[in-house]
Amino acid sequence: MNPLLEVKDVSLSYHSLSGETAALSHISFELMPEEFLAVVGPSGCGKSTLLNLICGLLTAEQGTILMNGNPISGDSARIGYMLQKDHLLEWRSIYRNVLLGLEIRGELTKKNLSYVDHMLKLYELDKFRNQRPSQLSGGMRQRAALIRTLALKPDLLLLDEPFSALDYQTRLNVSDDIGKILKKQKKPAILVTHDISEAISMADRILILSHRPATVVKIIPIDLNMKDRTPLTSRNAPAFKSYFNLIWKELNQNA
């Protein structure tokens, strides 16, 4: 099977008047179709920068990023991006928030609208479609943000610490919800997080980044030996603890 995404020897520095800061240094990895990859690393190591590169908001100074064998370009690639906060717009109803991406791309077709309707029903937001974002709980808001992203039918989903603004209980539930949704939709995803447990509970493989400038320390495949694992049930797997310790050690050695 060919990889969906190939990141080859990518480096990037940030420039300011006071000097140059190397953010990423010679990063290489691949992502297979339907795979869920988690990226962990010390805070400020350049995890978000990596996502910005993959979705074309930034351009690498060195190296290439290929999607289905073609170079990434800003607008053509179907890449969904979920940010730390849901950024639902308060002056729009939930329904109009969810349609934002389709509206921007001029793709408010009947087919797409019925797909959105289907997802709203499936993920229990249908009743709230005419409400304002502030009337919804944190978890519901994050689900709405996910539907907004999925409405564009992205080939790849980038998740930039999408649960970090939620309280612990909501966070577990929402990550479980979103993990299941992505599994069901067979969407490949890259999750950036600083939470090791979250990474193990959701990912098929974990990529560990070092301190700035970030380099790939190790890529660890996660095999919890479970049938129909979900992010919540994964946390009970016998192997969970040993993966945690392994990643903890790697992070500490390189931090």
Partner: protein, 251 residues
């Protein structure tokens, strides 16, 4: 509707009573002010030629209302104020959007805007009369000159404070500058734009009055100057009052 609890009812009643108290106290202050003014003028404690009196003001007001000259002047000022307000809103919004769209242009122009904004506009009015002639157009420009630069600076600064993350969201959904403007910047600036308009209507009125002081044959500003030159303090006071009433209305 569910039944309100006793405590809630009591709370609402208390609030209502408070509101009534404030309104009647306000009216009372006004009445006391008028009464003592009238009394002191009639008793000769103050010179009614210089300080006028409420009854004289009312009489003049009534006469001017009867021969309709008052409405002509109010109408002229109203028209000029609204026109300059309209142009300030359109130009202010247009230029601040342009500056937001071209950060380089904004950087170049910012110091000039600050200087223009801090210029004493009342000093500008005589120049405008000389440059543009003593006609209504000049007065409208005078009205605009007071509000426009502050308006641009205020809106432009507000646009710049919009969360970068929200703009990033638009870009991740495939949008560009135009979508950032239409989906995020303008809708989230509605309160700012409205607040800005509230301030501007008052500033435009001030500018129009200043313009009318110097080069007009109509309008409240003209009447104030006319009154002061003919030593009709009564008139000046009337127009100061009607100015402030006019302002209250526009709020």
């Amino acid at each position: 509707m569910h039944e309100l609890s006793h405590a809630q009812k009591a709370y609402l009643a208390r609030q209502k009573r408070d509101r009534r108290l404030v309104i009647s106290a306000r009216l009372l202050v006004f009445l006391i002010f008028l009464t003592q003014w009238e009394i002191t003028a009639r008793m000769g404690w103050i010179d009614s030629f210089i300080f006028s009196s409420p009854s004289m003001i009312f009489k003049t007001f009534w006469e001017m209302a009867k021969d309709q000259s008052l409405f002509v002047h109010i109408g002229a000022t109203l028209k000029e104020t609204l026109l300059s307000f309209f142009f300030v809103v359109i130009l202010g919004l247009g230029i601040s959007i342009l500056l937001w769209g071209c950060p380089r242009l904004a950087k170049v122009l910012e110091p000039y805007l600050v200087v223009l904004n801090s210029l004493p506009k009342s000093a500008l009015a005589p120049l405008l009369i000389v440059w543009l002639g003593a006609r209504q157009r000049t007065i409208i420009v005078a009205g605009m000159s007071v509000a426009i630069f502050g308006s641009i600076l205020n809106l432009y600064t507000g646009f710049g404070e919009i969360s970068q993350e929200k703009l990033k969201l638009i870009r991740t959904l495939g949008g560009g500058k135009k979508e950032e403007l239409l989906k995020i910047v303008l809708p989230s600036s509605v309160p700012l734009i409205l607040a800005n308009m509230k301030v501007n209507i008052g500033l435009c009125l001030v500018g129009v009055i200043i313009g009318e002081f110097i080069g007009a044959r109509q309008g409240l500003g003209y009447l104030i100057i006319y009154g002061s030159q003919t030593f009709q303090q009564v008139r000046i006071l009337i127009f100061c009052f009607s100015n402030s009433l006019f302002l209250c209305n526009s709020w």
